[in-house]
């Protein structure tokens, strides 16, 4: 099997309605997988599912532990298995600690950390039974280095990186690989979210010029390519790894 062959495999992608989740879903579908989308955005998920010829999406909030358990059970009941779990659902709060109230903190931690944990915990028994499985988590450059003005987000992504390493070691003997991508600045709806005004093309170029060695934002598909690789048998010797896909951002 090569990275381009996911025939007969079932891939659950959270945050699959847009951005890097949707881009990953498209690549997995093109590689022959049955791709189950999970997102709280029902219309967006339905549109992506229709585009890739996938089954009915699972609609709900990943910060809800019960929903995550039900979503995994429904996936196995309908499709028999979960070969790959991609935790792409994420959110951001653009503020320092003084601008982060309890609800802001809980929302960011709930989606980015709790939800990822609930889904991994629900999917692992099925992967253990199958004797194999791959989990790909979405970390961030800001999970490894700090950044001003997004305290909760930085903390949450640091937790994602450690969750990835801990799970990888817990389940390495059961044939399960757990890795993370740590994207840099990617042109997605989240990049534009929580800003005073939608950033213009000039704004985004200025951001890239100021912060990114390649001086451009990533296309979501450039991250999805690495996600699919990490989930594939081509990455059979990789687990517990945080793969930065950041155009040199953290190389400095």
């Amino acid at each position: 099997m090569t990275s381009t062959d996911f025939a007969g495999r079932v891939v659950l992608v959270t945050g699959g309605a847009s951005g890097m989740g949707a881009a990953s879903a498209r690549r997995f579908a093109a590689a022959g997988a049955t791709v189950v989308l999970l997102d709280r955005n029902a219309d967006g998920a339905a549109a992506v599912a229709a585009e890739i010829g996938g089954p009915e999406p699972l609609v709900g909030d990943v910060s809800d532990s019960a929903f995550c358990g039900e979503a995994v059970e429904a996936t196995v009941a309908r499709h028999g298995r979960i070969d790959v779990l991609v935790n792409a659902a994420g959110t951001i709060h653009r503020a320092d600690s003084l601008g982060t109230d309890d609800a802001d903190w809980r929302r960011v931690m709930g989606v980015n950390v709790d939800g990822m944990f609930w889904l991994c915990r629900a999917a692992l028994p099925h992967m253990i039974e199958a004797g194999r499985g791959a989990i790909v988590n979405f970390g961030s450059i800001w999970g490894g280095v700090g950044s001003a003005g997004s305290t909760a987000y930085c903390v949450s992504k640091g937790a994602v990186h450690q969750l990835t390493r801990a799970l990888a070691l817990d389940h390495v003997e059961q044939g399960i690989r757990v890795n993370a991508v740590a994207p840099g600045e990617v042109n997605t709806p989240m990049l534009a979210s929580e800003r005073a005004a939608p950033p213009s093309a000039e704004d985004l170029q200025a951001l890239a010029d100021a912060t990114i060695p390649m001086k451009r934002l990533a296309d979501p598909d450039e991250i999805a390519a690495v996600v699919v690789f990490l989930a594939s048998d081509d990455a059979s010797y990789m687990t517990g790894e945080i793969v930065h896909v950041d155009a040199g951002y953290t190389a400095r």
């Binding site: 007969g8 196995v76 009941a77 028999g80 298995r81 004797g131 194999r132």
Partner: protein, 304 residues
């Protein structure tokens, strides 16, 4: 083992059967024609008894390009429906005629016409040839009749029957009213320690024999692919299912995992684990437990 365990719940006939043991050797596929002939001849006396016991009449039909044996009991004036039944034999052995002790009982007691496909065997025809044949026969059967339809199979045939039900569901065509699976071999992954507590307990089937048979059927494909191990396909939306196994069945573990997966997917499944009995004990007509189990399966089919 029979000396150490009392097996008090077994009939004296079943206890005598236990005295015989199988040798745990891989199948010698160089002798495949002789092995098939010897098996067929060995089952012949039981087949003849079944013909008499259940007043069987049969002919041959072709469904979806697949030769099938069509069977009914002369005691059933008007069958309630038709059951497609997939014979067992590790995907390399067996034929519909050798199944008469099982399908003859179901024909009479469930009042069904039975159609049994002569699906292609490994190693000459590895996966998915057998599954394709069974699904082709099912599709043609469903198009040919408005009668109630059922699906069943034992061991390797249980795998094929379950897969056929999954494919029928996915295709949106006619699904069976119920599914009967006798010791179904639904998980063909090798070397996973999946035989659990019944390893070396089954008087009819041994580990290396079974894995050598599965390996020529899988033939290098992914054994966890749902077309090969239907345990790993979705169970949601499958019809009511009756599973039989025994505490000596080499495949007890996978039968119980199938039961759990079906329950979790909301399928109405009943699984009978027979104390002290072995892999497809219903196949051997020499003890009363087999008749009792077949009567239960028939009652389940009649009620759906």
């Amino acid at each position: 083992m029979s000396e150490r365990l009392p097996d008090a719940s077994l009939s004296s006939e079943a206890r005598r059967f236990l005295a015989g043991r199988v040798v745990d050797d891989p199948v010698d596929f160089h002798r495949i024609d002789a092995i098939r002939r010897e098996a067929h001849d060995g089952f012949r006396p039981a087949v003849d008894r079944a013909v008499e016991r259940h007043a069987l009449e049969w002919d041959e039909v072709e469904l979806g390009g697949v030769r099938c044996t069509r069977l009914r009991s002369a005691r059933t004036a008007q069958p309630r429906g038709t059951m497609l039944y997939c014979f067992g034999g590790g995907f390399f052995l067996g034929d519909p005629l050798s199944e008469f002790p099982v399908i003859g009982a179901l024909a009479e007691w469930a009042e069904l016409e039975i159609v049994a496909p002569w699906y292609r065997l490994a190693p000459e025809h590895p996966a998915p040839a057998a599954g394709n044949d069974c699904f082709a026969a099912w599709t043609a059967l469903a198009e040919s009749t408005d009668a109630a339809l059922y699906l069943g199979g034992e061991s390797a045939g249980g795998n094929l029957a379950l897969r056929t039900a999954q494919l029928a569901r996915d295709a949106g065509g006619q699904s069976p009213s119920a599914l009967a699976l006798l010791s179904p071999a639904v998980d063909l992954r090798p070397d996973r320690g999946l035989f659990g507590v019944t390893l070396e307990a089954d008087p009819t089937l041994a580990h290396h024999t079974m894995e050598s048979a599965h390996s020529v059927y899988v033939a290098g494909r992914d054994p966890a692919d749902p077309s090969i191990s239907p345990l790993f396909a979705g169970m949601e939306g499958l019809p009511p299912t009756f599973v039989t196994t025994g505490t000596r069945d080499l495949l007890l573990s996978m039968c119980l995992r199938l039961d759990r997966r079906m329950r979790r997917a909301g399928v109405e499944v009943e699984t009978r684990v027979w104390d002290g009995l072995w892999h497809v004990f219903e196949f051997y007509d020499d003890y009363p437990e087999s008749s009792e189990s077949l009567a239960e399966i028939a009652a389940f089919l009649r009620s759906h």
